[in-house]
């Protein structure tokens, strides 16, 4: 196996989860647990695909996927923030709605091919002997996802808005007492998370596969949730987690293709098993960095 190709394919395979997990991390930092990542991803996958196919522009597809993910997540936001519904149950509901919705929309698009998202050869860097092909000749979304990691990190660490978002997630009652609009901050975070998940889904249907099949995200949204825990709610940790996971996926797929003696089913289940093992190791150490108000409803009267 060519190591250049290996690293390049790990980056491609990690990007959907990276986008989704990064968005979910921001949501959780604001104190909201949205378990609907899988539903938003799959909706983004189908909407992105549909828009890209009908318009011929993959970038428009990604934009549409981001919007549809955000819209869907705002339904979750409305229920949890204004109607104060249980976040776990509502997130599950969002996933079920997303799976149904995507299957319904996608039934007309099965078997079609998406327009290809061109490679973005970065001048100079792309011409480097080995590293060029490995790191600097990907499609634009790979770089967008990496830029987002840096942006989220800087936003949470250095900006005032980021500080407010973290305050809301740590102690919503105090943040409210200080005059911050808890619900609005959370809705903004939820919408951002939805947009990221939508783009992540679109990356699966437009670049990685690239076609539409029902249920194609196959638990990637749930793995993104696990990666947020793995990352201890830090942007860099999300990057590492997503790339590790991408590595596992690529290696198991390559082993399947190479036809080793290991049963195919064992290889296919390995990403999920490894996720469980990683979760156990992280939780055994004690989950550090979980926002204190995570998953709790906020109501100004209480």
């Amino acid at each position: 196996m060519d190591p250049v190709l290996l690293v390049a394919s790990i980056m491609v395979s990690a990007t959907p989860i990276l986008l989704a997990a990064l968005g979910e991390m921001v949501v959780e930092k604001s104190g909201v647990l949205n378990l609907g990542v899988e539903g938003m991803m799959i909706t983004g996958a189908v909407m992105g695909f549909a828009i890209a196919v009908s318009s011929g522009s993959p970038l428009l597809g990604f934009a549409g996927a981001a919007v549809s993910g955000a819209v869907l997540s705002l339904a979750f936001g409305f229920l949890t923030q204004y109607l104060l519904s249980n976040q776990v149950a509502t997130g599950l509901g969002l996933t079920l709605v997303g799976l149904g919705l995507s299957a319904l929309i996608g039934s007309n698009y099965e078997g079609q091919r998406a327009p290809a998202l061109g490679k973005l050869d970065i001048p100079l860097l792309g011409d480097l002997p080995v590293l060029g092909r490995m790191l600097f000749s990907h499609d634009i979304m790979v770089y967008v996802s990496l830029a987002l990691v840096a942006a989220v990190w800087a936003f949470l660490k250095f900006t005032r808005a980021g500080l407010i978002l973290r305050a809301v997630g740590e102690d919503h009652a105090s943040a409210h007492a200080l005059g911050y609009k808890v619900v609005r901050v959370r809705l903004a975070a939820i919408a951002f998370g939805g947009a990221c998940a939508g783009m992540g889904g679109a990356y699966v249907s437009l670049v990685r596969v690239p076609q539409w099949t029902e249920g194609m995200t196959a638990g990637a949204g749930w793995i993104a949730l696990a990666i947020v825990v793995f990352a201890s709610w830090r942007a860099l940790g999300v990057l590492i987690g997503a790339y590790l996971f991408g590595g596992v996926t690529v290696i198991q797929l390559n082993l399947q293709a190479a036809g080793t003696t290991v049963p195919v089913e064992l290889l296919s289940m390995s990403p999920y098993l490894i996720t469980i093992i990683v979760l156990v190791i992280i939780s055994a150490r004690g989950a550090q960095g979980a926002p204190a108000s995570l998953g709790r409803s906020f109501h100004a009267s209480s």
Binding site: S85, V97, L104, V280, S301
Partner: protein, 361 residues
């Protein structure tokens, strides 16, 4: 402007009313959705909710299906509801259902072609144990390491699906199947075939077990100390710990019970309506049961009603697919919407809506 005021106690009136409100809202929005798909909305709703029971031509076939589909849904949802009451989120019932079916079927097939009357009960026990063991993984990890049971139980669904694929293609494949995937057909093996107990009712052993589970769950939750401890853990975890309730034991109890029930549901399904272990055996009952549990207000008798209603949408959905060419996925969306509207209208159960004039600060 409107303001929400927390009720000291959830309103009993609204607890009963919200599921009905949610169903009505789903029908309305669903009607709009069907209209947007270019299908007659009223006819579509009628085909889903009315025709399976009363259509002169199809009802004779679809009425028994009601119990066939409701049985596993109720059985799984009862187990889940107990955990949800305690704040333990087992969302991997689908995996426990699959593992119950695989273990139960494997034990049965090991004795092929025995005609012993003891074999079927043995398979039921094996199925229950299979589901139980699969649910014990998140339980042990949660109590031992504090690992989140939501993610672990869900990841295990994908693992179970791969085990199912392997069982169907390799180690449980029928030797007489000419190399095709899929186990021996239990329908052709009278000793273990989970047939209808009364012809044309759809009533098989799984449905009977579901009814028993409803009553047992009611007794446990309303009359037994275990049920009280479960509710206490969910509503006031600190109070529960002070009164000597071990959180770990509640986790084992809740996950264990739901694993057992989901595993049994899988076994009854594979020996009855499904007939064999095959790749597409997992039919999503484990996920739909989550909706059933919430729609039934986590109350055993509510779950009984909700399970029947959800079974109706399954059958009605198939009928609408056949008669109106409605996409099969629209039913999935329909069921998801139902849960969403239920959670939305639930605000009235816990809060009172007051109209107040905006105060001047």
């Amino acid at each position: 402007m409107m303001r929400l005021e927390k009720r000291p106690q959830p309103s009993g009136y609204w607890t009963a009313l919200t599921p009905i409100l949610a169903v009505v809202l789903t029908m309305l929005v669903g009607g709009v959705m069907f209209w947007a798909l270019g299908k007659p909305p009223v006819e579509a709703i009628r085909t889903i909710f009315w025709d399976p029971l009363f259509h002169p031509q199809f009802a004779a076939y679809s009425r028994p299906q009601l119990l066939v589909k409701a049985g596993p849904l109720i059985l799984i949802a009862i187990g889940l509801s107990i955990g949800f009451r305690a704040g333990i989120w087992n969302i991997g019932a689908e995996g426990q259902y699959i593992m119950g079916a695989v273990t139960g079927a494997a034990v049965g097939l090991a004795f092929y072609p025995s005609e012993s009357v003891l074999l079927f009960p043995l398979m039921v026990i094996a199925g229950a144990l299979g589901g139980w063991a699969w649910a014990m993984i998140p339980a042990v990890l949660k109590t031992r390491f504090g690992t989140n049971e939501i993610l672990v139980s869900l990841m295990l669904v994908y693992v179970a699906e791969n085990i199912l694929a392997s069982a169907s293609a390799n180690w449980l494949r029928s030797p007489e199947g000419m190399g095709f995937p899929g186990s021996r057909n239990f329908k052709q093996w009278p000793a273990v075939f989970n047939d209808e107990l009364i012809a044309n009712t759809g009533m098989h052993w799984g449905v009977v077990t579901a009814f028993i589970a409803v009553i047992a769950a009611y007794v446990m939750m309303a009359r037994h100390i275990a049920g009280f401890n479960v509710r206490l853990t969910g509503e006031a975890p600190r109070a529960a710990r002070f009164s000597g309730v071990s959180p770990a034991r509640i986790v084992f109890l809740c996950l264990g019970l739901s694993g057992v029930l989901a595993g049994m549901a899988g076994l009854f399904e594979v020996t009855g309506p499904a007939g064999q272990i095959s790749i597409d055996f997992g039919s999503g009952y484990g996920f739909t049961a989550i909706i059933v549990a919430f729609l039934g207000r986590l109350n055993p008798f509510g779950i009984l009603a909700a399970g029947l209603l959800m079974a109706l949408t399954y059958i009605g959905g198939e009928l609408a697919q056949l008669m109106l060419g409605l996409p099969g996925a629209s039913i999935q969306l329909f069921q998801g919407m139902l849960l969403f509207f239920l959670l939305a209208t639930d605000v009235f159960t816990n809060y009172r809506v007051r109209l107040v004039r905006r105060e001047v600060a």
